[in-house]
């Protein structure tokens, strides 16, 4: 095991260098038009679908944000998925104020099913899906519609920013969302966008109808629908100039639950589309391999990390125990001599590259407030500890996935 570790490590290095290089090259090529949105040359009608379940705290502001849009919205359908709180009451109270607001009260059947019912009701050419806790900014729709002049475009997505960004955990996600948005924009240049997130995505209605709407079985209908559109040859676009804000988990536990759901959805998508691996355009040649590679690297990396950590703990235990028996010092001058290997140097170089990449993103996305003195600690935690959570969440997701699969049978 120990003999192969340097080679595994080198493999990781290669893949990491590849992706950092890939993103940097894409950025260099497109740095001048990153924030540009296509011109609006044609008038599109837009129906907004807002699936809601117990959203009494945010639903009113979501409706307000949608109707505040500079681009005209033709209808807003709130799909109340059997809320037990005052969501319905609040929406009903707004019906007089907003003539284009439609309230549908239905039995609880899940977000995807609600959206599918909404698609049937929607009368417009474009359908926007907006989460009930997300607020599109005034310019958002106007900066997305231009993409649809290209008939192959099936969906366009904006830059999603956390609205709550005061607490420690929220600030970490604030950095993360900037990195995700920037990376997604870059992936858009090679037609490799693999998710159009729930807070706001603008779909071509005919595309959604063509693929039969959202998959009710998938835990992340936004990932699945993107993969499905990709499979059918639709393009996915992203505008950094279009912005929507959303609420992110403030604490570790709900954050873990959310991330596990994302991972589970991803696993479901891999399972559903695995037959297209290395087939069927970008889905089979990039998105699926990218997800599978992430899964593989996460699992192997975590296994190695655990193997090395546990070995170190056991060795240290034996060492301390033996030192006590012999009566020798546990810490000696030899403990302070460390000769770094070539791999250590390579790791440091890669880590520094990663930091530079993140700093670059924050500057480009005009979020360099996260690099100011009072936030620098958060930035460091993000670059080190926060990202280490990913593989652990992946493992718990896999556990739930296989447990779930057995139950589904």
């Amino acid at each position: 095991m120990v003999q192969i570790l340097p080679y595994v490590y080198l493999g990781y290095m290669f893949i990491s260098i590849y992706f950092v290089t890939f993103y940097l090259l894409l950025f260099i090529r497109n740095r001048k038009n990153m924030f540009e949105s296509p011109e609006v040359t044609k008038k599109y009608t837009i129906s907004v679908l807002v699936p809601a379940y117990n959203e009494q705290d945010t639903i009113e502001n979501t409706i307000k944000a949608v109707f505040d849009s500079k681009y005209p919205i033709d209808e807003l359908i709130v799909l109340d998925d059997g809320s037990k709180d005052d969501t319905g009451k609040i929406v009903k109270s707004l019906l007089k104020k907003y003539s284009k607001l439609v309230y549908i009260n239905k039995e609880n059947s899940g977000k995807a099913d609600s959206l599918n019912q909404g698609i049937k009701l929607a009368k417009s050419e474009l359908i926007a899906v907006v989460d009930a806790d997300s607020y599109p900014e005034k310019e958002a729709f106007g900066r997305l519609v231009g993409f649809f002049d290209d008939e192959k475009v099936g969906v366009a997505t904006p830059y999603i920013i956390p609205r709550n960004r005061e607490k420690f955990w929220e600030k970490l996600q604030y950095i993360e969302y900037s990195v995700i948005a920037f990376t997604r924009k870059l992936l858009g240049y090679v037609d490799a966008i693999y998710v159009t997130p729930g807070p706001l995505a603008l779909y071509r209605k005919s595309a959604l109808e063509h693929i039969g709407g959202f998959d009710k079985e998938n835990m992340t209908e936004d990932i699945e629908v993107t993969w499905h559109l990709t499979k059918e040859g639709y393009k996915r676009k992203m505008s950094l100039g279009a912005v929507a804000t959303t609420t992110v988990p403030s604490k570790l536990k709900p954050w873990l639950t959310q991330r596990r759901r994302w991972n589970l959805g991803g696993l479901q998508c891999i399972s559903k589309y695995k037959r297209y691996f290395l087939r069927k355009g970008m889905l089979g040649f990039f998105i699926l391999p990218f997800f599978i590679l992430n899964l593989f690297l996460g699992l192997v990396g975590l296994s190695i990390f655990l193997y090395l950590s546990i070995s170190r703990i056991i060795t240290n235990y034996f060492y301390v125990r033996s030192s006590f028996i012999v009566g020798s010092a546990v810490i000696s001058s030899g403990n302070f001599h460390y000769t770094p290997s070539f791999l250590n140097y390579l790791g440091i170089v890669l880590f520094v590259f990663g930091l530079i990449y993140t700093v670059l993103i924050l500057f480009i996305m005009k979020q360099n407030v996260m690099l100011k003195k009072h936030n620098f600690f958060i930035f460091l935690i993000y670059s080190t500890i926060y990202l280490m959570f990913y593989p652990f969440i992946l493992v718990t997701s896999l556990y739930h996935y296989f447990k779930g699969v057995q139950r589904w049978r």
């Binding site: 290095m13 290089t21 090259l25 060795t315 240290n316 235990y317 012999v326 009566g327 020798s328 000769t339």
Partner: protein, 219 residues
């Protein structure tokens, strides 16, 4: 379309990655080569010193042995071995690309074995009062417990060497590398278990409890 023209980036990134990666590997080899060269220099110097000692012995065999000089040279050599062993061990643990240090290790073990024999002879012929402290350890197939035990043995021996200085000849030798001369010596001194501290070719200390009493045997 814009996307099609940009897919070339997949290939460009691969080429750039190959360049960066190979540059990294090249620099890694250079780093390790530099360390190997240092170890080589140590080896050549040690080899020369030991050869010189052996020639001195040959000279003394045909004339009269100058014990003071022989003992002094032996002590100097032992101190040198002790300092080198620490550096080589650190370089070995940081070696990732090349296994050349493994071969170097064997050469050093042979040299140290030769030194051990020389030390036995000088002690016998000159009635010297130093103690030969030969540390025979495992290099291969180490369990976690072995690893920890050997670290503790190393610490204890380092402490003893620092305390007693020239009064002990500390000779660390990896004894499981299949070198016939070392195996012969293991047989000759009935060493069956590693790691072991062999004091003056008579006393074997294997257990941690025994090692605790190490200094008792050096008085």
């Amino acid at each position: 379309m814009m996307e099609k023209s940009q897919k070339i980036v997949f290939l460009q990134a691969l080429i750039v990655t190959f360049l960066i990666f190979n540059l990294g590997i090249f620099l890694g080899f250079k780093l390790e080569e530099n360390r190997i060269n240092k170890v080589n220099t140590f080896y050549l110097e040690s080899e020369m010193d030991l050869l010189d000692q052996r020639i001195q012995r040959e000279i003394f065999d045909i004339t009269t042995i100058n014990c003071d000089k022989a003992i002094e040279a032996n002590i100097d050599f032992a101190d040198k071995i002790f300092a080198e062993a620490k550096i080589i061990s650190r370089y070995e643990s940081a070696s990732r690309l090349s296994n050349e240090l493994e071969f170097q290790h064997k050469r050093f073990d042979l040299l140290r074995t030769l030194f051990w024999i020389n030390s036995i002879r000088i002690k016998r012929d000159c009635n010297a009062d130093y103690d030969n402290l030969v540390y025979l350890y495992k290099l291969n197939d180490l369990s976690l417990e072995d690893k920890a035990k050997q670290s503790v043995f190393s610490n204890v021996l380092t402490g003893v060497k620092e305390k007693y200085g020239s009064k002990i000849m500390l000779i660390p030798i990896a004894a499981d590398t299949g070198i016939p001369s070392i195996e012969l010596l293991l047989d000759a001194y009935n060493v069956t278990e590693l790691p072991v501290i062999l004091i003056n070719e008579e006393i074997q200390l294997n257990d941690l409890d025994e090692v605790k009493e190490l200094e008792k045997y050096l008085e």
